[in-house]
């Protein structure tokens, strides 16, 4: 079953800006789905429409088969959302915020209190439950918004930049929590600017740019589409110039750092063997950029060129 089905979704704002230009998208139940795109690509508008915070101009949205136009209340009850912007009542305690949120979804107060302990506990906030939300750090506020979104135990959880501004340790613990949630059956749609986050968590991916979906694939399939990959090699001894290795374009970045680009057919062993034969010792190596970042940059660059080319 599809958790989300979007057909021909168009959004034109009152100022004439067309944020979405006919989006078609499907997300399978149980998937961990990355929705990526540069700033202004239309991600937040799309999420806004899915969560009824933005009016669509045309198109159809179904959540677990429930049409947003005809079965709005049922569709909404299936969705939990963690928005990009902080939207907490600063004068309410953490417990009040999450218990009230459950109330808006019709969850009886006794059950809501039990769930508050579970979700605030899982996100490391139970000890602070009586504090006003304005007293929390940025990372804690983000975690509180996740706990709040889970109070009605949604089948589809939409996270719009949930780890923005969160330190690496908390980010990793949030990843673990989200993985566990997904393993227990919750479909998750994630937007993030940390592409390593999307690569680490998500099984499927769509890239949106200029209001259109420009790529939609399994994460593995998209990464395999990379034709070349660039590696950075740190050398033991400084070199006066880049070594010439037939078939392998090598650049000297500084005296003891090389950059080598490999196609899918080439392998690193060959590079190391040839460098070693030339008396060059490699101390360490890393990918120049995250692989998903490379795909992302190429696709969005191409998309930008296509738009630029089409412009008069």
């Amino acid at each position: 079953m599809q958790a989300l089905s979007v057909r021909g979704l168009v959004k034109t704002y009152q100022n004439g800006a067309q944020a979405l230009k006919g989006i078609d998208l499907e997300v399978e139940q149980g998937d961990f789905f990355a929705l990526l795109g540069p700033n202004g690509a239309g991600k937040t508008t799309l999420i806004g429409i899915l969560t009824s915070l933005v009016n669509k101009t045309s198109g159809e949205v179904r959540v677990f088969g429930h049409d947003l136009d005809r079965e709005l209340e049922t569709a909404k009850s299936c969705i939990g959302v963690v928005p990009q912007e902080l939207n907490l009542n600063g004068f309410e305690s953490l417990e009040t915020i999450v218990v009230n949120q459950a109330g808006f979804y019709g969850i009886p107060r006794a059950i809501a209190r039990e769930r508050a302990e579970i979700y605030l506990g899982k996100l490391g906030l139970w000890d602070r439950r009586t504090k006003m939300s304005r007293m929390l750090s940025g990372g804690m506020k983000r975690r509180l918004m996740i706990a709040r979104a889970l109070m009605h135990e949604p089948r589809l959880l939409i996270l719009d930049e949930p780890t923005a501004g969160v330190d690496i340790e908390i980010r990793r613990s949030m990843w673990e929590f989200l993985r566990e949630l997904n393993e227990r059956g919750t479909t998750i749609i994630l937007t993030t600017h940390y592409l390593e986050e999307a690569e680490a968590l998500c099984r499927s991916i769509a890239i949106i740019d200029g209001g259109r979906i420009i790529a939609r694939d399994q994460m593995g399939g998209l990464l395999r589409s990379l034709q070349t990959e660039t590696f950075v090699l740190n050398l033991r001894h400084a070199l006066p110039a880049a070594p010439v290795v037939d078939g392998y374009p090598i650049k000297l970045i500084d005296k003891s750092t090389l950059e080598v680009e490999l196609t899918k057919e080439q392998n690193l062993n060959e590079v190391f063997a040839r460098l070693s034969a030339a008396g060059i010792q490699v101390l360490s190596m890393r990918n120049k950029v995250n692989r998903l970042e490379e795909v992302f940059m190429r696709l969005t660059d191409k998309s930008a060129h296509a738009v630029g080319g089409a412009a008069p």
Partner: protein, 265 residues
């Protein structure tokens, strides 16, 4: 995980949603009691001291009653109007401004219930403050009850009308200035010219006719009728205006929510 299916328990889920909004509104009223409950009591005390005790003695009787007795229902109604309106306009606009209104708008609660929830918060504050001002007035005058049901119905309907008015104001408001415009430039003049302090029989004929177009005159007069058994207007017309206004404003408020006016583009 299993989603809570509101289809199975629609009425119960909606009741829980409604009481959650009302509980939150009550919590806000109590939390900032110095802004919500006390000012009207202080203002009413000043009115009673200045207009009632000091100036009132020279006024003598109004509409056949002691002046203090005459203005007490008007002052109670004035506080109900101001507080019912002020509660919803500031609470709803605050939630919109700080974006935590989204907690409600992403939920499956239908828009009519959201309007009802916020309006009920305003009605609650209006009635609470009305009760406080009533107690204050008892220190200055004796209040007789002529028709208790008319008193209850008039105060409840008036609070409803102005709570819904406050809701519509908050929907359109884009900043805090616009939250204050209507109370300052519309509500206050209409209230002062709405027979709170005088009987319109004192006015010239033309001014009396103009006063009849002021809905607050009808509300205050109906409420005063419940206490004194006398009114400047036909009480049946007054109730028709209150009920009609409440229905009209509710329909407008729900329509604005459905369109997402001032909230979503």
């Amino acid at each position: 995980m299993s989603a809570f299916d509101p289809q199975k328990h629609v009425a119960r889920a909606r009741w829980i949603g409604f009481t959650t909004i009302l509980r939150r509104e009550f919590g806000r009223i109590v939390r900032i009691w110095g802004q919500t409950l006390v000012p009207s009591a202080v203002t009413a005390t000043l009115y009673f001291v200045i207009f009632g005790s000091l100036i009132g003695r020279r006024v003598g009787q109004m509409g056949g009653f002691d002046y203090m007795q005459y203005i007490a229902p008007g002052l109670i109604m004035m506080s109900v109007i101001t507080n019912a309106y002020g509660n919803v306009v500031s609470s709803f606009f605050g939630a919109k401004f700080q974006r935590f209104l989204e907690e409600v708008t992403v939920s499956p609660m239908p828009n009519w219930l959201v309007v009802l929830g916020f309006a009920s918060g305003g009605i609650l504050r209006g009635l609470l403050v009305g009760a406080i001002v009533t107690v204050v007035s008892l220190f200055f005058t004796h209040l007789e009850v002529h028709h208790i049901l008319i008193i209850i119905a008039a105060v409840f309907l008036t609070a409803t009308v102005f709570a819904l008015g406050g809701f519509i104001n908050a929907v359109f408001a884009r900043n805090f200035d616009q939250v204050n415009w209507i109370p300052t430039f519309v509500l206050t003049p209409l209230t002062y010219f709405g027979g709170v302090f005088y009987s319109i029989s004192l006015l010239p004929e033309l001014a009396q006719k103009i006063s009849f177009a002021n809905p607050i005159l009808h509300m205050v007069s109906a409420f005063r009728y419940g206490f004194l058994g006398t009114s400047d207007v036909d009480v049946r017309v007054a109730f028709a205006i209150m009920i009609g206004s409440a229905i009209l404003l509710f329909v407008i408020a729900v329509g604005l929510m459905n369109r997402g006016t001032g909230m979503r583009e």
